[in-house]
Structure formats: structure tokens, C-alpha cells
């Protein structure tokens, strides 16, 4: 309260005119902040421009074939992106299909079912899953998960597949546990905490009265979630899913470890494949031929365009949900 007493007389006196120096400093600080913001913008712009310039020789050499062909042959210098693009889309989509129901279940558990004492520890544990570095997922996937998966999942499925059926075709592969499906499962664990966290935030935005009145009418938890909560958060939930998809598309190290790194179209869910990111991670440091490096950068540009579209849509949907 002494502060008020001290400053009261000063406030009564006419305010001293602000010095030119002070005004200039004020303006300077604003410009500094503005430059920092613009710097980030420039960085993103720089990424796009550098990818376009770096990848240009590949587009020029192969033209439209770069996107259509799945042939990737550094020896003969023929590069086509279709195999890696397919691998990226397939593994990310599979990961999303696996992660979506699980993360929805976790979010609902944390909001509706969890005993209050356990809410924070379990919430933190799920967050820790998001904190584990990608390379650790990769090592664990290759050395711990893959052998287990080969023995307990892959072998039984391959043994039981009847010859000649479609099921047999999509489950053929080397039973070593590495491949498209294994990569998708690891990816699913990695994106699950992100989707679950966003879903949880969205579920918490539902006004308590809305949910409580549904319960008051005698609804079960299942009915409240299906008919009240999910319709309420629909737009934002789709955004959360897209955000997870964006992460799965660009994930590099974990996939590089476990997808098997084979070029061309993936032939089955157990077959080795490659994604855009894993191809770049594996080959870029050794790409001494100009066309090889350019093709890898062109792949990067394709990845950027795909993830940008997905992320932009996600932000748009989540933003819309939060404003309404």
C-alpha cells in the first residue's frame, strides 16, 4: 500500500513529456519482436524454396514419371517416388486406424471414468509416451517388438492363411517382424498420446450441464459419449485425427528402423517397404550423385506438400471448434 502513497503525488503532477529516446526505444522493441516473428515466417518460406530448388533437377529429368513410377534404382539413376509415397500413406493410414479408437478410449477414460486420484498419474504417463524420442521407439521396435511380433502374431497369421486366398496374398512376407504393419503399430503408439491429449481437451470443453442433463435423462456413459459428447466435439475431433496423421506421415527414425527399407510398392502388410522420410534418412548422407540427392530432396518436397495440406486442414478444423 506504500506504493500508492509514493506514487500519488507524482500522478498529480503533469506527466513529463516522453523523451524522443524513450519513444524510439519503444518502437525499436516492437520492431525487434516483429522481426523475430517474421524470421519464423521466412524460415518456413526458406524450407519450401530450398526444397523446390534442390529437387528441381529430378522433376526436370523425370517429369511426371517421377510421381508415377515406383522404380528407385541409384545404380542406373532412375528415380520414381510412387513406392515411397504409397508406403508413407499406407503406413500412416494404418497407424491412424489403430490409434484412433485407442486414443478415443483413453480420452473418454480420463474424462469420464477415471477415479480422480489416478487422473493425474495416468494422464502424465500417457504424456510420457509422447516424450519418448523417436529413435528409442525405433530401437525398441526393432530389437524387442519385432521378434515378439514375428513369433506371436505374424507366424500364426501366415500359417493359418489358406493358400490362394486374398488373405494369403496380403499376409505374405519374411517372418522377421519388420515390415509395413510393424511400422504402423509403432507409429500408432507414437501418435496415440497426441490424439488422446487433444481429444481430452475437446471433451473438457463440453459444458457440464449438457452432459449432466443427458445423464439426468437416464443415459448410460456409452449413450452420453455417442449421442452428446462426440457430436459436440466432431469438428475438432477430426482436426485432432488429422494432426495425428500429420505426425505419422513425417515420422522418420522409428520407421527407418522397422519398416525394412525396400524400394517399390509394398506388396503385403508384412512386406518390407519404405516411406519418404525413411528413404531420405537412409540415403541422403551417401547420395553423392547430383541426381540422387535431387531426387531425395524432391521426395522431401512431396512430403512437405502432403503434410502441409493435412496440418493446415487440422488447424482449420481445431480452430473452428475452439471458436464456437
Amino acid at each position: 500500500m506504500t506504493v500508492t502513497a509514493d506514487t500519488a503525488p507524482a500522478a498529480a503532477a503533469p506527466a513529463p513529456p516522453r523523451s524522443a529516446f524513450g519513444a524510439a526505444f519503444d518502437r525499436g522493441f516492437e520492431i525487434l519482436c516483429f522481426s523475430a516473428a517474421t524470421f519464423l515466417l521466412t524460415a518456413l518460406g526458406g524450407i519450401v524454396v530450398s526444397l523446390v530448388i534442390g529437387g528441381w533437377p529430378a522433376f526436370q529429368t523425370f517429369g511426371l514419371n517421377f510421381f508415377v513410377s515406383a522404380e528407385w534404382d541409384p545404380v542406373q539413376e532412375i528415380y520414381g517416388a510412387a513406392g515411397a509415397v504409397t508406403g508413407t500413406l499406407v503406413s500412416a493410414t494404418l497407424a491412424l486406424v489403430l490409434a484412433l479408437p485407442l486414443s478415443l478410449g483413453i480420452a473418454i477414460f480420463l474424462v469420464e471414468l477415471c477415479p480422480p486420484i489416478l487422473r493425474r498419474p495416468i494422464g502424465t504417463a500417457v504424456e510420457l509416451l509422447a516424450g519418448i524420442p523417436s529413435i528409442v521407439y525405433g530401437m525398441w521396435g526393432l530389437f524387442v517388438f519385432a521378434p515378439w511380433f514375428a513369433k506371436h502374431v505374424q507366424m500364426p497369421i501366415m500359417m493359418s492363411a489358406r493358400p490362394g486366398t486374398l488373405w494369403e496374398t496380403i499376409t505374405t512376407g519374411v517372418p522377421n517382424g519388420a515390415g509395413i504393419l510393424s511400422a504402423s503399430i509403432i507409429l500408432a503408439i507414437m501418435i496415440l498420446p497426441f490424439i488422446a491429449a487433444t481429444m481430452r481437451e475437446l471433451l473438457l470443453t463440453i459444458p457440464a450441464q449438457v452432459r449432466e442433463s443427458a445423464y439426468g435423462l437416464g443415459s448410460t456413459t456409452f449413450e452420453v459419449v455417442r449421442k452428446v459428447s462426440l457430436p459436440y466435439i466432431r469438428t475438432g475431433a477430426i482436426g485432432a485425427v488429422m494432426l495425428g496423421l500429420g505426425r505419422a506421415l513425417g515420422e522418420t527414425m522409428a520407421v527407418t528402423f522397422i519398416i525394412g527399407n525396400a524400394h517399390g510398392f509394398p506388396t503385403s502388410i508384412f512386406a518390407s517397404g519404405s516411406t519418404i522420410a525413411s528413404t531420405i534418412a537412409n540415403e541422403f548422407a551417401e547420395a553423392t550423385e547430383e541426381l540422387h540427392a535431387a531426387s531425395l530432396i524432391a521426395l522431401g518436397l512431396v512430403l512437405f506438400v502432403i503434410t502441409f495440406a493435412v496440418l493446415a486442414l487440422a488447424r482449420l478444423l481445431i480452430g473452428r471448434q475452439q471458436h464456437t
Binding site: A36, G46, G54, I106, L128, P133, M139, T220, T252
Partner: protein, 283 residues
């Protein structure tokens, strides 16, 4: 809602299946976390001896540690964080204090969010094109820039979020006392929001300390202990990547020990950040 017995039974079964599914989903996630932590501990703890911190990465078959990688990683992360905090805090301040809902502010905010979730390997490609290819040399500095570009958007985002939470009355009070805007921001707003800003910086640090992809072709690797960031610099993630995929058992043992070190660091920092974030709510 019908009250006839059959639908009532169906509703109860639906409910039970649904509840069971939610419990199972959570259990599955926790099981994976436990399995990963268990593997890290059981495989990594054996390799964690004094050599790890005192010797550099060995040739296959000889005794060695991870000293050069730990030093390299630390140096790159510190340099990256200094740059990222500078840019991120100022950019976040601009978004919160000056831009607000202006058109340009919205564009920056949106593109910062895109940068935040952009694949890290693309940032690596960009830095390679800008800083590695022109001088024809990999360097720790290029690695730092790549890591900094990944950390800055995180800090920008969290800074803006916490600054926006500061009450308008606080700004008005400071301005009413005659403080210019810059003084208000530095001495009042930043000071009052410092806990949240620290959390943001810690989360950004946690994110970049395990990043591997952008370092593969920027910092590359170095077999020896080096303090020169203009040369290729050893770093934990890339060493783990190379050693884990090698055929030598002692290299793999070092990779597991390194993985345990990184995971322990990242998880500790994450938990500390979460605790700090909770602090202001209590007071």
C-alpha cells in the same frame, strides 16, 4: 428410451463393452510405456559405467564410451536453445502484445503451427541446402541451427499462450504508472509469466534433445572428442542410430546405454516442465 426388458439388457451390454474398451485402451497404452521403459532399463543399465562418461566412441571390439557424443549433443542443444529462446520469446511476445488479431498476426500464428508439426527431416534437408552444401562441409553449427528451428516454434507458441493469460489489468496498471510498453512487457508481463515461459523452453529442449533425423546430414558424426562446432560433431542420437544398426555386440550395448541416457533426460525434463506449469495455479 424404451423400458422394455430386452433393449434394457442390450443397453447394459453395450455399456459394459464400452467401459471395458475404454479401460483396455488405457491399459494398452500404459503397457507399451512400461514395456519400453523396462527394455531401456534392462538393456541399458548394464552398459552405464564410468567409461560412458570418460571415453569416446570406440572402434568395434575395443573399450569406449559416449563422451564425445554427450559433449557434442550438449553443445549443439545449448547453442540451439539460445537462438530458439531469443527468437521464440520475441516472436511470441509480438503475437501476444502487438499483433493480437491482426491479419499478419494470424498468418504468422498459423504458419508457426505448421512449422511446429512439420517433419523434422525436412528441416534437416533445408539446413543442409543452406549451410552444409554451399561450404561443402558438415558442421555442428548446422546441426544447432536445425535443432533451433525445431525448438523456436514450440517456444513461440507457449510464450504467446502464457502471455495472453496475463490479465489486461496488469498491463493497464503498468502503463498508468507511466511505464512505456517495452518496460511493461519486460518488467511486468514477462516477469509475471516467467514460469510458463520456462515450461515452454524446457518442453522445447526435451523435444530437440532426442531429435535424430535433422542431424543425420547436418552435424553428421565424429569419432573423436571435439569442441569445434564448425567441424562435424558427434551427437548421441546419430551415434545410437549407427551403433544400434551395427553388427557388433559392444556397439549395440553402447547404443542401448545411450538410448537410456536420452530417454531419462527427456522424460525428466518433461516431468519437471509439467510440475513447473502447475505451480502458478496453486498460488
Amino acid at each position: 428410451m424404451s423400458t422394455s426388458p430386452a433393449p434394457r439388457l442390450a443397453r447394459r451390454i453395450n455399456e459394459l463393452v464400452f467401459l471395458a474398451f475404454c479401460w483396455t485402451a488405457t491399459a494398452v497404452a500404459l503397457l507399451f510405456l512400461a514395456a519400453i521403459l523396462w527394455s531401456l532399463l534392462s538393456q541399458g543399465i548394464g552398459g552405464l559405467d564410468l567409461d560412458i562418461f570418460t571415453k569416446s566412441t570406440p572402434a568395434p571390439g575395443s573399450v569406449g564410451g559416449l563422451l564425445n557424443a554427450i559433449v557434442g549433443s550438449l553443445m549443439m542443444c545449448v547453442v540451439a536453445m539460445v537462438g530458439a529462446v531469443l527468437v521464440g520469446v520475441l516472436a511470441g511476445t509480438w503475437l501476444s502484445e502487438y499483433a493480437r488479431d491482426s491479419h499478419y498476426g494470424k498468418v504468422v500464428r498459423f504458419l508457426n503451427d505448421v512449422l511446429l508439426s512439420a517433419p523434422s527431416i525436412l528441416v534437416g534437408l533445408f539446413v543442409y541446402e543452406v549451410l552444409v552444401a554451399p561450404v561443402k562441409g558438415f558442421s555442428g553449427l548446422a546441426g544447432s541451427v536445425a535443432l533451433g528451428l525445431l525448438a523456436a516454434p514450440v517456444i513461440t507458441r507457449t510464450t504467446e499462450d502464457v502471455l495472453r493469460l496475463q490479465p489486461t489489468a496488469l498491463r493497464e496498471a503498468s502503463v498508468a504508472l507511466g511505464a512505456p510498453v517495452w518496460r511493461t512487457i519486460l518488467a511486468v508481463i514477462w516477469k509475471s509469466a516467467r514460469g510458463g515461459m520456462l515450461t515452454g523452453a524446457l518442453l522445447a529442449f526435451a523435444r530437440i534433445s532426442g531429435e535424430t533425423a535433422p542431424l543425420l546430414f547436418t552435424a553428421l558424426n565424429n569419432q573423436f572428442l571435439s569442441f569445434d562446432l564448425t567441424k562435424p560433431t558427434a551427437n548421441l542420437p546419430v551415434v545410437i542410430f549407427n551403433f544400434a544398426l551395427s553388427a557388433y555386440d559392444d556397439w549395440r550395448r553402447l547404443a542401448w546405454a545411450g538410448a537410456l541416457l536420452i530417454a531419462a533426460t527427456v522424460l525428466t525434463v518433461t516431468v519437471v516442465a509439467r510440475i513447473l506449469a502447475r505451480e502458478p495455479r496453486r498460488s
